[in-house]
Amino acid sequence: MIHYILQRCAGMIVVMFLVVTIVFVIVRVTPGDPAAVMLGPDATPQDIAQLRARLGLDQSILMQYLFYIGQLLRGDLGQSIFLNMPVGRALIERAEPTFFLTVFSLAIASVIALPIGIYAAYRRGSFVDQASTTLAMLAASIPSFWLGLILIQFFAVRFGMFPVSGYGGPGASFLTRMYHLTLPAVALGLVSSALILRFTRASMLDVLGDDYIRTARAKGLVERRVILKHALKNALIPILTVLGLTAAVLISGAVVTETVFGLPGVGNLVVSAVLRRDYPVIQGALLVIAGLYVLINFAIDMLYLLVDPRVRY
């Protein structure tokens, strides 16, 4: 077990090193110049060259890379060119809306998808099964930004129940901030629920035909116990995997949804950074996101141990 954990940690370090290097190279070879963006449309080439020198962008890519690696080894993600603050601080500031958006969306998705998925598998071929499968396909096909705009149109503009965009003004209370997350969380939750529902149904169908389910029923166990204890527990591994991966996608920033709703989250930060070519922010954010992916995958693997005694590392 310890040997497995050490092996996984070593693998994670290699993955992170590759991520750092690949992101650094891609960012530098992509056309575009943060100095030109910062100075605006009427800046002269001389102004741009001077600012590039001030930012250290006139150095060779190799020198910039070595400098960046040195920074990372000191635990420093660098300084944002545009935000006038360390990248680490910018990410921490953006973590709150993204974290709660992830939690709310996952909660909404789970509340919808798990019971319906279980019931659809249990009553395979029924109206509920067919309707839920069709609706899940529909939800999976809807872009979250489109759904977001529709929700805005109805619940913010027509009924005035929710704000159209933003995350609350200065001094906004926790509840106000969460209130601003309602519509984006519903949009993301509905779209995410489709995948979770389909996995839940498929996974439940797999186990419902197994011998131990027939045995449990033969023993005279009540149906609820058979489904929720025996079947669901064994169907959980793929469901956990898809929940974990959905969480990872959401934590890494529901890029489009955050932009549509004007939420100051990680996704919005990354989009702005890419448009402005804020190299340190792009590099830092992608490094942290990749790190989260790696950790979530690791955590899922560890969770398998809890839900399935057959799994051994």
Binding site: T44, F82, S165, G262
Partner: protein, 507 residues
């Protein structure tokens, strides 16, 4: 009875004034197109930077309603010596910075030195400036090497701006945002809001408000600039009444805004002009005849219609400045604008020796109207026998690529109508496009050196003639800008860089 009548008359006279009076207090929420790249307006020419920071920082001069230069931190317009080389600037007294310190000539000299060192427009002026010095605690003298008439306009402009900041806070990278403006920065949460609060020690100019000049009333307690980058969301936010002012909306939203109870559209007519800039240094467009053939092929009306839809939002106009700008002239326009003659253009291109090399049009969908105009232009150019290579990139890539002479032949941009023609970037030979001909030098230099406003108008006509003769860039037409204003918001006039120090909210 007479007393009663007099009292009634007094009340009747006072009533309209009371009804018209703007209320003090309240918070204004402004939705902007995004987060400004910096809050230091010296170091950026981006409009968004100017819009936000003009409330925090002030310049010696600014512009009135008619785009004339008017004093702001200066007591009056500068005294200019007879030879046009010495500008004596008297400063207003009792002006305080947001940190409580008093503004003196020492601060102004330090700030202007930072401006000529860091700001694009300051560098443009620096070649003409011999020295900047304090004559006494409230007087600054700028000595020039040669007469340079655009100086006061450059000192008045709100981006790449000659803002006055404390002498002790002149670091190249600004970390403390201390100005003299009617509002001071309280908090900036990037991509969330920029919160400005009323500066209680602000000393407004006396008299009436006049455009960006005159009295600044500070009716509002707070102004919050909130980035809403998605244009559709901005429209919905305006219709729902979430924001009091929503900037830069698609023209298609006009009718929707008009039907709203919470907000109304605000049309700035005209706002600016789209421009096709030629690469006069390398490639096929280096040839003047080919540039003229390209211009001959294009139908500006179709391009504007594709980009802006209704004629309510654009105007066919070849004058670089439209009426009522005093700079408006039709010099050089006739026969050179909206010719829409692809067949004639094909013959002209052949005569000019066009060898079939693709014309590389560099454009971006960041501004959808640029892309739509490029599409129409490409069809007209193809009809004239040109090969066209549309290079659609994001704005950051465009701003980088346009600096490389080898990468493009035409790039598309736009500009608001700048109050002083000398501020137009493409007139400088260093600007991408690299227009550098004897005609440019003669006409632009004469225009820049002349101080007499009437003579300058005539000299600008010569510059416009040279623009049409040399074809370094093509103006496509005039276009209008749409914003949305809450029905509760008073005191906001249409402006290319909207300002809110005279705005108030009706409770």
């Amino acid at each position: 009875m007479k007393i009663k009548l007099a009292l009634l008359m007094a009340v009747a006279l006072a009533l309209p004034t009371y009804a018209m009076a703007q209320e003090k207090g309240g918070v204004l929420n402004v939705a902007t197109i995004g987060e400004p790249p910096t809050l230091d307006p010296m170091t950026s020419t981006a409009d968004l930077v100017g819009i936000v920071t003009q409330h925090i920082f002030e310049t010696l001069y600014t512009f009135d309603k008619k785009w004339g230069v008017t004093p702001l931190l200066a007591e009056s317009l500068p005294e200019v010596s007879a030879d046009g080389k010495v500008y004596t600037i008297k400063l207003r007294s009792g002006i305080k910075f947001h940190d409580g310190s008093d503004m003196t000539s020492e601060d102004v000299v330090a700030s202007l030195n930072r401006w000529v060192k860091l700001a694009s427009r300051g560098k443009q002026a620096s070649g003409f400036i011999d020295s900047i010095a304090a004559a006494d605690a409230s007087t600054v003298t700028i000595k020039l090497k040669q007469p340079y008439a655009p100086l006061t306009s450059l000192l008045a402009f709100n981006n790449s701006a000659a803002i006055i900041i404390p002498a002790k806070k002149q670091a190249d990278t600004m970390t403390e945002f201390v100005g003299t403006g009617p509002y001071m920065l309280k908090e900036r949460k990037a991509d969330q809001y920029i919160q400005l609060v009323r500066f209680k020690d602000y000393k407004p100019r006396s008299g009436e408000s006049d455009g960006y000049g005159g009295a600044r009333h500070q009716y509002l307690d707070e102004i919050r600039f909130v980035p809403v980058p998605d244009a559709n969301t901005r429209v919905e936010a305006a219709v729902s009444g979430q924001y009091d002012y929503v900037d830069s909306l698609p023209v298609e939203s006009f009718d929707k805004l008009k039907a709203s109870k919470a907000t109304q559209p605000l049309l700035l007519k005209p706002f600016g002009y789209p421009v096709f800039v030629f690469n006069t240094a390398e490639g096929p467009a280096k040839s003047l005849e080919i540039r003229k053939a390209i211009r001959q092929a294009l139908n500006m009306e179709d391009m504007l219609a594709a980009a802006f839809g209704s004629k309510d939002f654009y105007a066919l106009d070849g004058n670089i400045y439209p009426a009522p700008y005093s700079w408006s002239t039709d010099a050089g326009v006739k026969g050179n604008y909206n010719v829409a003659d692809p067949e004639g253009a094909a013959k002209a291109a052949k005569a000019a020796g066009y060898d079939g090399k693709p014309i590389r049009i560099l454009t971006s969908r960041q501004y959808e109207f640029h892309y739509k105009m490029a599409q129409v232009a490409a069809e007209y150019l193809k009809a004239a026998g040109f090969q066209v290579d549309m290079q659609v990139v994001d704005w950051a890539t465009l701003t980088q690529r346009r600096t490389d002479k080898a990468l493009w032949d035409i790039y598309i941009t736009h500009s608001p109508f700048l109050p002083e023609p000398a501020l137009i970037g493409s007139l400088a030979p260093s600007s991408p496009g690299w227009w550098d001909t004897p005609a440019r030098k003669t006409t632009v230099d004469a225009f820049s050196a002349e101080a007499d406003p009437k003579k300058r108008i005539a000299l600008w006509a010569d510059v416009q003639k040279a623009i049409y003769a040399d074809a370094p860039f093509m103006k496509i037409g005039d276009f209008n800008a749409v914003a949305a204003v809450s029905t509760k918001l008073k005191g906001v006039d249409p402006a290319p860089w909207p300002y809110f120090w005279n705005a108030s909210i009706t409770k």
